[in-house]
């Protein structure tokens, strides 16, 4: 998810109808520049090279989201058929990975491994990060975590001192971790989009 604000103006996006490595290309109505939606980067036109600002979002179940945010609004409408409509991380975890990072600097964490480990500490772009999954809601998130170490303990996501954190928010009382973009991808699609891209391997 991105902000539509760029250099003091608000952009409106349309669907260009072009696919780049199976990923759709969008255009902005203001300048007709072409943007690769998975990267948030303009590849052609007056805004070529510009990067949209990432807005943290959550991929989770409707039940988990509305329980956390009872005041939420929700989009309704016709359901897409086929794979898009039936998207379910719980059913085929081996086929999916969590792509962490923005633009071209990304790393893939397979869901099969996330399910097994629940919490993964890693170095990414020179920063210490934690990638963790809540198995009940299939919510996986990634945060910069500094020297903190996290674990799941009896259903609680806690740091090394035993303090409980809210994984969905990356928060504990007044403290907040900086979230990294984290998007589920079909692994085969991700590999085709980021050939030679970094994939997490367990030691």
């Amino acid at each position: 998810m991105y902000s539509r604000r760029l250099d003091g103006r608000t952009l409106t996006f349309g669907h260009e109808g072009i696919l780049y490595k199976n990923s759709f290309v969008m255009y902005d109505k203001e300048t007709k520049s072409l943007w690769i939606h998975t990267l948030g980067e303009a590849v052609k036109g007056p805004l070529k090279g510009k990067q949209l600002e990432f807005i943290p979002s959550f991929i989770t179940t409707w039940k988990a989201w509305r329980t956390k945010h009872p005041e939420t609004l929700v989009l309704t409408g016709r359901r897409a058929r086929g794979m898009m409509g039936a998207f379910n991380l719980g059913r085929n975890p081996d086929r999916y990975g969590l792509s962490v990072g923005q633009g071209r600097e990304t790393k893939l964490y397979p869901y099969s491994l996330l399910h097994k480990r629940k919490v993964i500490h890693d170095d990414f772009e020179g920063k210490k990060i934690v990638v963790a999954i809540d198995a009940d809601t299939m919510t996986a998130r990634a945060f910069e975590c500094g020297d903190r170490k996290f674990r799941w303990s009896n259903g609680t996501f806690e740091d090394e001192t035993g303090k409980a954190w809210d994984l969905l928010q990356g928060a504990m009382e007044d403290e907040r971790l900086r979230p990294l973009p984290a998007t589920p991808w079909l692994i085969e699609r991700w590999r085709a989009f980021y050939p030679g891209g970094a994939e997490y391997e367990s030691e």
Partner: protein
């Protein structure tokens, strides 16, 4: 140092465009997909056709929370919306 960085960024941008030219192809005409503009969202209590197990893209800006079921986004791929005071692009 700055010059090198700008040069490097330029090179990367060129790489992307070259890669784009190599791999991009037109699938459908422009605007063939019904992209959403300022869609009407409803309160959770009125969303009887959204199932508990549906996977949603959730966003919260300030105090406003919005959810976009992937099953619905699949037929639009893209939504221009606002959350809090932020104009957002939701893509799937």
């Amino acid at each position: 140092m700055m010059k090198m960085l700008i040069l490097l960024m330029g090179l990367l941008a060129q790489d992307l465009e070259a890669d784009y030219e190599k791999h991009a192809h037109r699938a459908v005409p422009r605007d063939a997909f019904p992209v959403l503009h300022d869609p009407k969202l409803v309160p959770a209590a009125e969303a009887s056709d959204v199932r508990d197990s549906d996977v949603v893209i959730g966003v919260m800006v300030g105090t406003e929370a919005k959810a976009y079921p992937i099953a619905v986004m699949g037929s639009h791929e893209l939504a221009n919306d606002n959350c809090g005071r932020e104009p957002i692009a939701v893509s799937w």
